[in-house]
Amino acid sequence: MSSTPKELRYSKSHEWIRKEGSNIGVCGISDHAQELLTDVVFVELPSIGLEVKRGDRVAVVESVKAVSDVYAPATGKVIEVNTELEESPDAINSDAYGDGWIFKLELEDADELDSLMDAAAYQKHVAMGDN
């Protein structure tokens, strides 16, 4: 069973977001998503300064088996990207919620996170087979 940390929020498209400070959101893809992809080999990171609305495509993760778009779980501006993923894309597989983080957003409205799924709701979403 894939892991689903309780302190995070999740989107239907399998991204997670963790609030840092008052208005920063650290984002990545869930353990369930990385399991489906298998070995990640390339990550297309967004440019710093990119403004995104919730649901916009923001990054691309390519694995041995498939390619997957990563969508912004919230509205904001990309302020940092995980350049370590260029050398070690497999961090997404081995540590999806830690070293496998993909980008950080300066959130337009931190309250937007409340409308995302919590861990329990996301687990149910995964169990229902909504890949």
Binding site: T38, D39, V41, F42, E62, V64, K65, V67, D90, N93
Partner: protein, 362 residues
């Protein structure tokens, strides 16, 4: 869906089960790349029991097979095996296979899982003389152990000096659990290794014993994900990709198996292709930019479509995307730059000499 005799072992090892040609098999146990690298550096164990085994026996078995395959049977003798194929009347490929000669009236054909029935029907419909053809796939399991340490590991379990002395493309009868088995020095990974054929009832025991005794050598179980990345690096054809009913062995780049002087099916067509060249050929390409090519990606040169990829993937050894592509004959040569269209975007690639990874056994 079918399951091999090792299905429960795969579950025990937490294999990620997928559908492959109607069989429930693990695509990986831990990581495709990890399993691939383990095979190249130490050893990996594969359950390939879904493959087919067809016996061809009788006084006329040899003359029958000489009509069915384009590879000369003069090239093998008892206890040797060789790569070949079955061609249809148009020169396309029914299947590629390995043919094991036990005696001149006793042959074993090892074929792809997705084509067992097709191959059997093809052989049966062309049968003539004192020839008995039997599909024994259902009772035979197949375990491949591949990698530089595969010999040492196998000898921990089968202390049979005949196994230890096997040269590439030779096989021997041996015994395991008081039952006869066949062990050949061959494989589909580009590493030195062995293919073991045994009755289903023994598969679990051999699988677990190999994993146990191979653990200290670094032996890992590997799924079909790694099997595909390994064979692609070695430029081995996969039926349904490089070979098909409409792709001849010459077009696929395995024209070297066409060397028989016998009157084999589609002889005129295939020999003409060999002599004058076919209209298409298979080339190897390496991506120059980031990306993973897949099958059925267009290949362009100077803006013109020259062909399409037959297989694509990521090479853990080269750390880049690689592909095999069926293109217009003569349109490119090694060193040429092409474009592979991946998800509507052209990615720069260069044509290279096959294989990406050279066979490392001796």
């Amino acid at each position: 869906m079918n399951r091999t005799a090792l299905y429960n072992e795969h579950l025990n090892l937490k294999g990620k089960i997928v559908d492959f040609a109607g069989w429930e098999l693990p695509v990986l146990y831990t990581s495709i790349i990890g399993e691939h690298i383990a095979c190249r550096n130490a050893a990996a164990l594969f359950d390939v029991s879904h493959m087919g085994e067809i016996t061809v026996k009788g006084k006329d078995a040899e003359s029958f097979l000489r009509k069915m395959i384009p590879t000369s049977l003069d090239r093998i003798e008892p206890y040797k095996c060789m790569y070949s194929c079955l061609c249809n009347d148009h020169g396309g490929t029914i299947d590629d296979l390995f043919i094991y000669m036990i005696a001149d009236d006793d042959f074993l054909l090892v074929v792809n899982a997705s084509t067992v029935e097709k191959d059997f029907r093809w052989l049966a419909s062309h049968r003539m003389g004192d020839v008995e053809i039997e599909n024994i796939s259902d009772v035979i399991s197949k375990i491949d152990i591949q990698g530089p340490l595969s010999k040492q590991i196998l000898l921990q379990v089968l202390s049979d000096e005949n196994v230890g002395e096997l040269e590439r493309f030779s096989f021997t009868h041996s015994v395991y659990g008081d039952r006869p088995i066949i062990v050949s020095c061959s494989g589909y990974t580009g590493e030195k290794g062995y293919e073991i054929y045994l009755h289903n009832e023994l598969a679990s025991r051999l699988w677990t014993e190999l994993l146990l005794k191979g653990k200290d050598f670094g032996l890992v179980p590997a799924g079909i994900g790694a099997r595909d990345t390994l064979r692609l690096e070695s430029c081995y054809s996969l039926y349904g990709h490089e070979l098909s009913d409409s792709i001849s062995p010459v077009e696929a780049g395995i024209g070297w198996i066409v060397n028989s002087k016998d009157d084999f099916i589609a002889k005129d067509i295939i020999l003409k292709q060999k002599k004058k060249g076919a209209s298409r050929e298979t080339v190897a390409v390496e991506l120059m930019d980031k990306g993973v090519p897949r099958e059925e990606c267009e290949v362009k040169k100077n803006g013109f479509i020259i062909g399409i990829t037959s297989s694509g993937g990521y090479s853990p050894s080269l750390k880049k995307g690689i592909a095999l592509a069926l293109v217009q004959a003569g349109s490119v040569k090694p060193g040429d730059e092409v474009e592979i269209v991946i998800r509507d975007k052209g990615v720069r690639a260069k044509v290279v000499k096959r294989p990406f990874y050279r066979y490392m056994g001796k």
